[in-house]
């Protein structure tokens, strides 16, 4: 045996007489981490087959050959609060400071398809996002913003088709062709049932609406991403990185199967599917997660018959983990966010949101959000990590971990299959139980000091928090309700009633609903009224209670 070989073998043996800080080192997902990784750990990997070059199948190293040398990721801060006017001002502020894409946070009533004056909307107006109850609000939200040149992502799911309708109609009122506008609607209902819980309708009609948007989008709004399949919320609900990866890709494949069942051609809609991941604290595990995600997606889409290279590309947005932020010593969240953002960049993200330091306390203040944006700009412009593609490619540890994440993902695919597929697994509470279990384990580890969170259970300080908190305009709700009343009074009543009754009839049948929804939008039917008709026809989802 050569001297070199011996060294490799030596690294494999964990010394019995050496003391280390812990008896076992693990990733956040509980994957055991060895002291040292060597070529032996990746000796089963064939470079050309399993890794390859950036921009080529299986796209492990990135979806483009040049990545950030060609173009930086889109800096897209999630923002929205209060009225359309207030949020419009925040968008302009962010654009002035170098943000390159917009991302709309809607308030809870909007996410559930209720108008601000609905009884269940009590106290919720503008709190977690901006209220958009009609085309009128959308017009105000984007007034003075060049939506022919900037892309917009909208975090909207249950009523996604209708809110997208507001966006398309607003663009056309400004004289912008729907074929030119670009952006994303989240439109991912499966993860709502699994984790985020802003669902409206039961699974079947929800899936129908989503396939309607795929079909309509590929024909009429070709630059639009009609879905953003989201692991972010799965992670925020307490999943591990492995669960986030497995459940998200599983959901993605379920959408593909439903669209194909409708008769859509995979290469017509697959290029417009996009993804959304979380960036949590475990730096290398996060990077491995993004790399594994790209390879699994490319392989699975190929198996399903995709031919166009673009159909195989997993494009994704990343948001740093809101749930990792601490209310204690909020300034140190800037450091957490920096590391998380760096993992997303090293993992090859197409777009990024960096959280603000004050988000465990309230919605971000202007200063906090500016620092968060500057964090991305420093990574992009100063750090040098953007000079080469997938700089961690070939790292013994990163490649081994990427493989491991893929292996664990396929184990989950099998378990979901044994539940009868994604929707039966949701109905049985499989995902919800797995996530609740992981969330509880994580909290217990912190409570029992087996896991340290700086400022929470280690290096604590007892001093009052001294950062400015965003305050809402108390009168906003009243103004919004008055605007709604005026809108309902002033619109063409006959036109409104005709569009609503035509939508009802179409919903009862099986036509694509998008053209009918757009008619409702143009007649200034409100979100609550339009969703209300669909609620009557489709019914509402009630989740099983699991903890």
């Amino acid at each position: 045996m050569s001297e070199k070989r011996k060294k490799v073998d030596y690294c494999d043996q964990i010394g019995t007489n050496i003391t280390e800080r812990k008896t076992k080192f693990e990733t956040l997902s509980g994957i055991e981490v060895k002291r040292v990784y060597t070529p032996k750990d990746i000796s089963h990997i064939d470079y050309d087959r399993d890794i390859g070059v950036p921009g080529e199948f299986p796209f492990l190293r990135g979806i483009h050959s040049t990545m950030y040398r060609g173009r930086l990721w889109t800096m897209r801060q999630f923002a929205g609060f209060g009225s359309a006017e207030e949020t419009n001002r925040r968008y302009k502020y962010l654009l002035e400071h170098g943000e390159t894409g917009l991302s709309v946070a809607f308030d809870y009533p909007t996410l559930y398809g209720y108008d601000t004056d609905h009884p269940l909307a009590r106290g919720e107006f503008g709190k977690c996002g901006v209220a958009v109850s009609s085309l009128k609000d959308m017009e105000i939200l984007f007034s003075g913003i060049p939506i022919d040149r900037i892309t917009t992502s909208m975090t909207i799911n249950g009523p996604a088709a209708i809110v997208w309708g507001f966006y398309i109609a607003n663009a056309e009122k400004q004289g912008i062709d729907r074929r030119v506008i670009g952006g994303t609607i989240q439109n991912d209902i499966l993860k709502e049932y699994i984790a985020q819980k802003s669902y409206i309708f039961p699974p079947e009609p929800s899936m129908r609406l989503i396939v309607d948007t795929f079909e309509f989008g590929s024909r009429e709004v070709p630059r639009w991403n009609t879905i953003s399949i989201s692991g972010y919320h799965i992670r925020e609900a307490g999943s591990t990185a492995v669960q986030e990866l497995a459940f998200t890709l599983g959901d993605g494949l379920e959408y593909v199967r439903w669209a194909m069942k409708r008769g859509l051609k995979i290469d017509d809609f697959a290029p417009r599917l996009s993804f959304f991941f979380n960036a949590h604290n475990d730096f290398f595990e996060e990077i491995a997660k993004y790399r594994a995600a790209r390879r699994i997606w490319a392989k699975e889409l190929k198996k399903l018959g995709a031919k166009k290279p673009r159909s195989l590309l997993m494009r994704f947005h990343t948001q740093t983990a809101g749930c990792s932020l601490t209310a204690q010593q909020p300034e140190i969240n800037i450091v957490r966010v920096t590391l998380q953002a760096l993992s997303a960049v090293l993992g090859g993200t197409q777009s990024l949101h960096t959280n603000s330091m004050d988000e465990a306390l309230a919605l971000p203040s202007e200063k906090a959000v500016r620092i968060a944006l500057r964090t991305q700009q420093i990574i992009a412009e100063e750090s040098g990590v953007t000079s080469t593609v997938d700089p961690l490619g070939g790292s013994y540890y990163v490649e081994w971990l990427t493989d491991k994440m893929e292996e664990e993902t396929y184990k989950y695919f099998d378990r979901v299959e044994r539940c009868g597929g994604v929707i039966p697994a949701i109905e049985k509470g499989f995902f919800q139980r797995e996530i609740a279990e992981s969330a509880y384990r994580y909290q217990k580890e912190i409570d029992e000091n087996k896991r340290f969170i700086v400022g929470v259970n280690k290096y604590k300080m007892d001093e009052p928090i001294d950062i400015p908190i965003l305050r809402m305009d108390e009168k906003g709700e009243e103004r919004q309700i008055n605007r709604l009343k005026k809108l309902r009074r002033d619109r063409n009543k006959a036109k409104f009633e005709r569009s609503i009754s035509r939508l009802r009839k179409a919903a009862e049948g099986d036509e694509n609903l998008m053209p009918y929804i757009l008619d409702c939008v143009h007649s200034y039917a409100t979100l609550g009224e339009t969703c209300g008709v669909l609620r009557e026809v489709f019914g509402e989802y009630k989740e099983p209670v699991i903890y």
């Binding site: 809870y108 009533p109 996410l111 559930y112 209720y114 009884p119 269940l120 909307a121 009590r122 106290g123 919720e124 709190k127 977690c128 709502e192 985020q196 819980k197 802003s198 925020e236 609900a237 307490g238 749930c323 932020l325 601490t326 209310a327 204690q328 465990a360 306390l361 309230a362 919605l363 609740a436 969330a439 509880y440 909290q443 217990k444 912190i446 409570d447 969170i453 400022g455 929470v456 259970n457 009052p464 928090i465 908190i469 809402m472 989740e543 209670v545 699991i546 903890y547």
Partner: protein, 131 residues
């Protein structure tokens, strides 16, 4: 045998962030309490109705959306109206520091923000529950 402490964990409003509520529900159960969890999207009326039906000693409210000032105070007001003013009410979620005194004045005994350990909540309930 001593009667177990009965706790209702409730999610008022439209907020779907139930991670904290579920963790606390499990931690209280593991600490030997009887826990009823309402599930999501409860109105104040629904929560108080369940509290009455289940004859609970404690109501735990969880909310991240920012609607706590409206919805939590609706719950404490209705509890008093139903003759359940003795029930210990605690809350958690994203609650700005300056809202805490107002909530305490409205009858909420404890506010547990991010970073609270489950043990702190268990101890607080054991110490303050009236029965």
């Amino acid at each position: 045998m001593e009667k177990k402490i009965r706790v209702l964990i409730a999610k008022p409003g439209l907020d779907g962030h139930d991670r904290g509520a579920k963790i606390v529900a499990r931690a209280l159960r593991d600490a030997g309490m009887e826990v009823i969890y309402t599930g999501l999207h409860q109105t104040a009326e629904m929560i108080v109705e369940t509290a009455v039906q289940e004859d609970v000693d404690v109501v735990g409210l969880s909310l991240l959306s920012g609607a706590h000032m409206t919805l939590f105070r609706d719950v404490t007001r209705l509890l008093k109206e139903k003759g359940m003013g003795d029930v210990l009410v605690v809350c958690g979620g994203i609650i700005p520091e300056e809202d805490v005194p107002v909530l305490k004045k409205a009858g909420i005994a404890g506010c547990f923000g991010p970073g609270t350990s489950c043990e702190e909540i268990v101890e607080f309930i054991k110490k303050n529950v009236k029965r």
